[in-house]
Symmetry: C2
Subunit: 270 residues, 2 copies
């Protein structure tokens, strides 16, 4: 899945959605999230306004050529002169544009954006690590043989870490599954062999009736999961939720990072 | 929630749904599940046939008076002369009738049947144990204070077990959450203090196009969850899936029981 043609395809797709979105109206939303502003694309359909999911104005690159040139650099493994924040914005813009585009044409379709986002992140990991993921691993355990379906697993081979990479557009209370899967991997293969590093788009929620945007977060529960279920190595976000960002500062900390960071640290992690 | 008037309400609701369903057509389905037959209620809507979820003919009591008299006995705590299978059928009929009724009038509504089923099982546990459940427990842990939302917890007081009772109409891969919650309870409070005993309606899936009914089960994964995440005390089903029933026979076994059994064993468990 890491071929160059796949990388080009994401760019073509972005150019198409970006051209489509540019013709739509933008509606400012009332952000209840500190230090963040959100807007939606909007469309009139049968006399009613349809809004896209909320888009973080501070992360969304209006000038699509910025996305294109940075994406080219990513394809060429040459990020010299760029930093994590810049890369985060590019991938955020690419991902949220597609999701917003789907919001505009299909009502209540959560599957298409989810699948797209999974492919996008899967591609970026595969390209960076130079290896394709698997989605199912063998459990061999004395007389028991079973095959366990998983999220993306990137196996770098012996004496190197294996990456366990669940990909979600948002998590809410479903995130507990990620810790539970990590627990199974730790239990079956030994603690520390799989580095759990989920990638999540955002945790925003739009109340359409009053145009208010909030972030749905459960930081206290995350601390308990991290202490009592399993240890995730880090959690990447494209739009880092405010209250999760603060988990970097508690003890024991949970590392919550903007996803662009991955491109500057994966060499160290492997 | 264990008041007598609540118990009466379930009966009134059953009588209404049962009267509604009796006027509908029944369509036999093609069961791909060994030793089980299924049918659906059907209705014509805008020239199209709408089918209810599959109903197990071997568990569904056509004569609603049988349900009514047994329910009365349950309300009076007098199950003399009845056995677990008979009680399972009564509760199955009551639950599936409501769910099928909702299927007939609302397209794709999963929430109403889920909420109803949760109330029904919550009521039956509360009545049997003589205590109301809570849905949130305090985590006190040195300098950390948090409140954890949970499924039903029935706290029988000191020196007695606490029951952890997640209720689902079906589980599929979401079941891992139940083991993860059990793991958190074990970790926070100590292993063995909470008996995990989820109650599930069934695991059937209907392929509407060809009228085929299957059961979606993941028995190999259940074994791994039970070994590596946490230990569930037992799992009750109203319509026990064939491949899960066999988990009673493997080693280490997972106890999978028809829910009617609860009424004949809860005294022992407490």
């Amino acid at each position: 899945m890491r071929g160059e043609e796949v990388g080009r395809l994401f760019l073509v797709l972005f150019q198409a959605t970006s051209a489509f979105l540019r013709r739509l109206n933008r509606e400012e939303l009332i952000s209840l999230v500190e230090n963040k502003n959100y807007f939606s694309f909007s469309i009139q359909k049968r006399g009613r306004t349809r809004l896209s999911r909320p888009i973080n104005s501070g992360l969304f690159l209006v000038d699509s050529s910025q996305v294109e040139t940075c994406w080219e650099s990513l394809l060429e493994d040459d990020l010299a002169g760029r930093d994590a924040d810049a890369v985060t914005k590019v991938i955020y813009t690419l991902a949220i544009s597609f999701c917003a585009g789907v919001d505009m044409v299909k009502d209540g379709d959560k599957k298409t954006p989810g699948t797209f986002f999974e492919y996008l992140i899967g591609y970026l990991f595969a390209k960076a690590l130079g290896i394709d993921p698997v989605r199912r691993i063998q459990v061999l355990n004395l007389d028991l043989t079973a095959s366990l379906p998983t999220d993306y697993i990137f196996n770098l081979g012996s004496n190197r870490p294996k990456f366990h990479v669940p990909v979600k557009t948002s998590t809410r209370e479903r995130i507990i599954q990620v810790w539970a899967h990590q627990r199974v991997l730790d239990g079956v293969y030994g603690t520390g062999r799989f580095l759990g590093m989920p990638v999540v788009l955002n945790e925003t929620k739009l109340d359409v009736a009053n145009r208010k945007v909030t972030e749905i977060c459960l930081p206290e529960q995350w601390l308990i999961y991290q202490m009592h279920i399993a240890k995730l190595n880090r959690i990447y976000y494209l739009d880092v939720p405010e209250s999760y960002g603060r988990l970097n500062l508690v003890f024991p900390p949970i590392r919550i990072l903007p996803f662009g960071q991955f491109f500057f640290e994966f060499a160290e992690l492997t």
